[in-house]
Symmetry: C2
Subunit: 194 residues, 2 copies
DNA sequence: ACCTGAACACCGTTCAAGT
DNA sequence: ACCTGAACACCGTTCAAGT
């Protein structure tokens, strides 16, 4: 996706590449516009279900968006202004779900950042995964085998014992662990039970 | 840090830029070598303390490395082969800590991926933060004010009520929530208590 | 074995000029 | 108001050639 160059864009528009500079101040501005319009696309079902389900729904929506537009996450994470645009657009539903969990404001912010950072990290790892599927599990094992036999014993042991990693959804797994952690926060911060 | 170009590297080595191609097959190979040598630098104290402390120590070490070499995380996450090199190097200590927590192998893998994805997401967000300090909190508020007043009500409310976000370490906060979530996994997967 | 230099096919961005 | 074209200062990589 260096396919998006000013010159190529100009070419596919059948226009002199430099015409773009009349409409936008530069390439970063172009990317910000793309980010903005893609995130306007992200629809996460408001309300309905527990706050846990709403966080999961948010995660699923973000992930779907990242899958539909690989490299986009990279562009976002690379440009402070794009981060802002994306964050403001996407965070609303997430904040709402976490507020519904009964968290105090600073915990809502902290928990939302955690979820966003995780989801971005996951999306990036997945975007540049060698082959889809086992999410680089096989290649990790292969890399280990290329190293001296006595190195990295724990990874060898754990990965040697690994059962079918095929069948599991590691995104969902991570998100569920995070949600469990947030549940702990909740009981710590609320006086009674709710 | 597009400062690392083959031509510039050649120049600072006082050598024809193309001489590099005799030693390495291309720029990606160069970056992989850099990643490899930087990660060889990452030292996380083996043993000592609870598994929770060891996970925190690992997180702190990774974070320090990311702070010392901003853009590096971006290069890693951008190149499948670099991911492998970095993962194999860094994951050993993390796997060891999670194994010590008494998790079954597939949970060790899942939890390690979660921690790594979070830490990468955090590092990337921080690397391109506009101004250090509040971690883009101020600019998020500013961005909100540039939008129509009726938009994004939840974010306005929560961020309006936010107390001193200055004083808190949001990396540590997120990591602790994750650790709490992993503790939940543990009690679910072990027969007795340990 | 190691380095050089010219060349190729690209970039983003500027600036003066055209309609 | 909107587009063009030449130019500038870069990229990564190839390939034949030098020592």
């Amino acid at each position: 996706m260096e396919a998006l160059s000013m010159r190529r864009l100009g070419a596919t528009l059948g226009v002199d590449p430099m015409a773009i500079y009349y409409h936008l101040p530069g390439k970063r501005a172009l990317i910000r516009r793309v980010v903005e319009s893609v995130f306007a696309t992200m629809s996460v079902p408001e309300d309905g279900g527990t706050w846990q389900d709403r966080v999961r729904a948010w995660g699923a929506a973000y992930r779907q968006l990242a899958l539909a537009h690989p490299n986009l996450v990279l562009q976002i994470v690379t440009d402070p202004a794009a981060i802002l645009v994306a964050a403001v657009q996407a965070n609303e539903a997430l904040y709402a779900a976490l507020e519904a969990a009964g968290l105090p404001p600073e915990a809502v912010v902290g928990a939302a950042d955690l979820v966003v950072d995780y989801v971005n990290g996951f999306a990036l790892a997945q975007a540049s995964a060698p082959a889809a599927g086992t999410e680089s599990m096989r290649s990790l094992v292969a890399e280990l085998q290329r190293r001296p036999a006595e190195a990295f014993p724990v990874q060898r042991r754990v990965l040697g014992e690994h059962p079918d990693v095929e069948g599991r959804d590691s995104f969902r797994f991570g998100l569920d662990v995070i949600i469990a952690g947030i549940e702990g926060l909740r009981s710590r911060s609320t006086a009674g039970r709710q």
